[in-house]
């Protein structure tokens, strides 16, 4: 019996002998199930067979439909036996088999009999089984018994009915909702768990009724709740009420006192639930936080790992938004670094990294170093990310943090972990100028012995951009050239490109780099040789010490300011011809989800038949469309097309939206019209545009629509001339004019006579943002520096009260119509400030970069600092005007 457990191998043999299920086989067990049909039932034997069947199911064995049916019918015979143990196994078996509707009928009467039995155990279990397998129709038959059961004096029966109610609420809510009186009564039950189940069910019945939930919470927070589980539920419902109340009123938070009193409850479960609820309150103040932090701090030194974990995980979350509130726990946290449970240790470290101050960094790093060797990669990545943000917080400490990163970079680790470290170093190099040379050398050393091709190529590329700008670029050459000798083709090709970059950027190195590049001409791989040849011939001048032409530099190393998706489609569309592929023909506009698609479902009344073919949405399609119209063919290259702007309300007779096409000297309005009245045909449809509030524009052409039948969209165009290259703005009022002809929708016959009619559309504005094209840059910092501060314009704006920081950021982005870079359009939750980077091209091909810094203070007052750099001071001013007027 008492086997020594250490000797696993011996043990296994013994165990195999002892297992009662050794050599068990489905077919044989199904044969054995025939004992269920015996006239003289042996309950013990039947129980054993059911256990075997359950064992098979538990091990993942499946029964075919026929097998399951056979077993089910055999099992139903066992209701004849009065053995309680056997009956309970029968219940289990029926639940596991989940019988089909026609099978359920067979057991319904037996189960209903058990439901009204005197034996509590039968009642409770029969309710659970029946509710599990039943459908709505049967439920109405047993509803009466269930209502009785809810208020049954036996707590097990009441709980069974209540829990079944919670499950049934998902499938047949209308029936369960009728039980609320009984459930209400059960909430007052003296039995702890009945109260818990009743409360859960009552809340779910009423969850969409705010007032009822609020009343429920109010009455229960004053009364007594017996079970800790019910108390936890009450805390959850209370926070829900608090959250919803907070949006309507200000001042003292309701129910906070209740939450605070729960911190003194005798059950740890409740204390923790309350503490966590307090930390998660919207806009929680430090005063409110303090008592919760205090109890969590006590938990940190508990002997129970679960308690420590729960506390440290919660504090870790608090540290993201209120780092100062958590600093009191720092001493307890530090002792957790050596916790046996590595999850706890990692959470403790990352919390400390968030709350730590500058002076404690060094000590902390020492502790972490010991800790890193014995945790798994997934934890290490979390730590690396925490260290990265710490370093950005305390740039002065970059030396020790960078050293730490380079040390762990040398140790063993998987790809994701190494990538996290490399990414962190790259970010630190970018953001902390002092760290650059040090960091680059660490990366150089890393690629000397790096098994991940992806990381090697990324680092080589990064070296190519950053290395030449350092004080002594020559020291990197050795590391790079070593790659050409020792690595696979992908890395070799990357190394060749990097070498060429050094050659092109650092004139003094050029002759030496050329010697190295020439050697690469004999490489075994095509790509490597091709690259070497290309660079030798373009960077050129036979390796003499002269400056490489700027055009060549831009061609080879400039950032590709065309979205890759666009170039891909253009290349796919390109058919081999005399004319070579022209990269300038690729649209630069970053494609966004066309607005029309999102709006369409709400706009079109259902049952209109085939959805109307939407207006062409992409830039290339627009360009094709416009160039096919002779009147507009001499307007030149299309600069930008706006997203469609709706000029009519949804669900009106005629749906019209407009797309603004901007050319250098012209603006073309494309009105997309849809007739939504089946009884009408519109003819000679024109848009009468009044440009009196747009002085700089003069109408030059318009293209009316001959006829607009029901549900087939058509386009009307109007073209205006404007001063060249100037972002003229103005307001246009529009009127749809047409001849209406009655149509018999059944026959499709059109009456001959029509009536002239007009339909007022909303006004249309051309704004400065229409002259900005969304063009992304891959490296904002480089682009920002290369434009230089000559035409920089900085100003501050108050944006007034806003819903949230994220809302303010997205409002400004859409106002400017520029492309967010490096994912800066995303605002982290709960952050108080945010920097957003935007780039674009202004009409006249002027590059514009914008750096937005947002801050939010207490009453949601948002302030913004706007810095613009461009190649033209007029354009910089123009961007400010957009913001100032918007």
């Amino acid at each position: 019996m008492a086997q020594p457990l250490v000797k696993k191998d011996d043990d296994r043999d013994d165990e195999a002998e002892y297992s009662p299920f050794l050599g068990i086989e489905k077919g044989a067990v199904l044969q054995e199930a025939r004992v269920f049909n015996d006239p003289q039932l042996d309950p013990r034997r039947c129980s054993q067979v059911i256990t075997k069947l359950l064992y098979l199911l538990n091990q993942g064995e499946t029964f075919t439909k026929i097998e399951a049916t056979e077993v089910f019918f055999a099992v139903t015979k066992l209701f004849q036996s009065r053995d309680i143990g056997l009956r309970r196994m029968v219940y289990l078996m029926i639940k596991e088999l989940s019988p089909s509707a026609d099978e359920v009928i067979i057991v319904t009467s037996s189960l209903m009999k058990d439901m009204t039995s005197k034996t509590d155990m039968y009642r409770a279990n029969a309710i659970r089984v029946l509710c599990r397998i039943t459908d709505g129709t049967l439920l109405t038959q047993i509803e009466r018994y269930l209502k009785q059961a809810i208020v049954d004096k036996n707590p097990v029966v009441a709980s069974a009915a209540l829990v079944s109610g919670i499950h049934l609420l998902e499938t047949t809510p209308e029936i369960v909702k009728r039980w609320s009186n009984e459930v209400q009564e059960a909430v007052q039950s003296r039995a702890a768990l009945v109260q818990f189940h009743a409360l859960a069910l009552l809340h779910q019945i009423r969850q969409n009724d705010r007032l009822a939930v609020s009343k429920l919470v109010t009455s229960l927070t004053r009364g007594t709740v017996r079970s800790p589980l019910a108390q936890c539920l009450l805390i959850r419902y209370t926070t829900q009420v608090i959250r919803e109340a907070a949006t309507t009123q200000t001042g003292d938070r309701p129910f906070y006192d209740f939450l605070e009193s729960c911190l003194r409850h005798k059950a740890e479960m409740v204390i923790f639930e309350a503490a966590r609820a307090i930390t998660e309150l919207n806009g929680v103040t430090n005063r409110e936080l303090t008592p919760a932090i205090t109890v969590l701090q006590l938990f940190l030194s508990s002997s129970k790992p679960v308690l420590r974990f729960a506390a440290v995980r919660t504090l870790n979350k608090v540290a993201m938004t209120h780092p100062m509130a958590v600093t009191n726990c720092n001493i307890d946290m530090e002792s957790l670094i050596s916790d046996q449970n590595r999850s706890i240790a990692t959470l403790a470290i990352t919390t400390l990294l968030k709350t730590g101050n500058e002076s404690s960094v060094d000590r902390l790093m020492k502790q972490i170093t010991n800790f890193m060797s014995d945790i798994a990669d997934e934890f290490k990545i979390v730590v690396v990310e925490a260290i990265r943000s710490l370093c950005l917080k305390f740039p002065l400490k970059y030396r020790s943090l960078m050293n730490f990163l380079s040390n762990i970079l040398r140790e063993e680790g998987g790809f994701e972990y190494k990538k996290a470290i490399v990414d962190s170093i790259v970010i630190l190099i970018r953001d902390i100028p002092d760290a650059k040379e040090n960091g680059l050398l660490h990366l150089c050393e890393f690629i000397e012995d790096c098994e991940f091709t992806y990381l090697s190529t990324q680092i080589l590329h990064f070296l190519g951009t950053e290395g030449p700008k350092t004080s002594d670029p020559s020291k990197y050459i050795r590391y790079i050239y070593n790659r050409v000798h020792l690595e696979n083709a992908t890395v070799r090709a990357a190394a060749v490109s990097t070498l060429a970059k050094f050659g092109a950027m650092v004139d003094a190195l050029k002759p030496r780099v050329f010697v190295l590049l020439r050697r690469c001409l004999y490489d075994g791989d095509d790509e490597v040789r091709d690259r070497a040849t290309l660079y030798l011939n373009t960077v050129g001048s036979d390796g003499e010490v002269i400056e490489t032409d700027k055009v060549v530099k831009d061609f080879l190393f400039g950032s590709l300011d065309i979205p890759l998706a666009n170039i891909e489609t253009s290349l796919k569309n390109y058919e081999p011809a005399e004319q070579p592929f022209d990269i300038n023909s690729v649209p630069k506009e970053v494609k966004t989800q066309p607005l029309a698609e999102k709006k369409a479902p709400g706009k079109k009344p259902a049952g209109l038949g085939a959805p109307p073919s939407g207006p062409p949405s992409t830039v290339d399609a627009y360009e094709k469309l416009l160039s096919s119209i002779p009147e507009f063919s001499d307007f030149g290259k299309l600069f930008k097309s706006s997203a469609p702007v709706e000029l009519t309300e949804a669900e009106t007779e005629y749906a019209v939206n407009v797309v603004k096409h901007i050319f250098d000297r012209h603006v073309v309005f494309q009105y997309n019209c849809t007739n939504t009245i089946p009884e009408q045909l519109l003819e000679n449809v024109t848009v009468i545009v009044d440009a009196s509030e747009a002085e700089e524009f003069a109408e030059v052409a318009s293209k009316p629509l001959r006829s607009l039948p029901y549900d087939s969209p058509g386009q009307i165009f109007g073209a205006f001339e404007k001063p060249e290259g100037v972002p003229a703005v103005g307001k246009f009022s529009n009127m749809l004019r047409f001849i209406v002809k009655e149509v018999d929708p059944t026959t499709g016959d059109v009456e001959d006579d029509g009536v002239e009619d007009e339909y007022q559309l909303e006004d249309l504005e051309v704004v400065a943002a229409d002259y900005v094209m969304k063009v992304g840059v891959s490296n904002f910092r480089n682009a920002w520096e290369s434009i230089g501060p000559d035409f920089e314009r900085v100003d501050e704006y108050g944006l007034g009260p806003r819903e949230s920081l994220a809302e303010a950021v997205s409002a400004v982005i859409s106002l400017l119509g520029m492309q967010p870079c490096e994912g800066t359009e995303v605002v982290a939750n709960n952050s108080r400030s945010h920097t957003c980077l935007l780039s674009g091209v202004f009409i006249g091909n002027v590059k514009v970069l914008v750096r937005l810094q947002f801050g939010i203070d207490g009453p949601k007052e948002v302030a913004m600092k706007l810095a613009v750099r461009s190649e033209d001071d007029n354009v910089s001013d123009m961007i400010h005007e957009i913001v100032a007027s918007g």
Partner: protein
């Protein structure tokens, strides 16, 4: 987090990570292979930890798992990422102690398999469809162990084995008190 606390699964594995008894209440693992993969991941992650005196805790695939080991048996209770860890721990403790009572202290794999019916009934009494039914080990074990014959049954229908079972039941009850 306005919802009722819920349990995603309860696992009882042996010292090699093989199933003794498992019960899943959520649809996060729809197939048997998904379930087995999860059990393997849980087992590997927790294998080397010492969860013999106090329940331990870990995070895996966005789930919180509390666990406790005794002899060659590994007990696990899984809940969602935002679940109150102490509630999960209470369920685990209830399961763990109830199994201890039902196996009369001889908690190991062999004993558990020999009394698999008790273990399965025990799981059935702790959680119903993810909702916690009972966490008090004594109550759980009491409900599982009440193997007496229906009071309504006439005495003459009782066989010798049933009579023995009744006797054993009375003995168990007195032991559990």
């Amino acid at each position: 987090m306005d919802t009722c606390p819920s349990i995603k699964n309860i696992l009882l594995l042996d010292s090699e990570g093989k199933r003794v008894a498992v019960k899943y209440y959520s649809n996060d693992w729809p197939t048997n292979s998904a379930k087995e993969a999860f059990e393997k991941a849980v087992f590997t992650k927790t294998q080397k930890t010492n969860a013999r005196t106090e329940a331990e805790i870990a995070m895996l695939e966005g789930n919180v798992i509390v666990y406790k080991f005794v002899q060659d048996l590994h007990f696990f209770v899984t809940g969602g990422e935002d679940e109150n860890e102490l509630i999960l721990a209470t369920v685990l403790q209830g399961f763990f102690d109830a199994v201890g009572l039902l196996l009369r202290g001889n908690v190991d794999k062999k004993e558990a398999l020999e009394n698999l019916d008790l273990i399965l009934l025990c799981l059935d009494e702790i959680v119903d469809g993810g909702i916690i039914l009972e966490t008090d080990a004594n109550v759980i074990a009491g409900k599982v162990a009440s193997h007496s014959v229906d009071v309504g049954a006439p005495l003459s229908e009782q066989t010798i084995s049933q009579a023995l079972a009744t006797a054993r039941e009375h003995l168990t009850r007195s032991l559990l008190k």
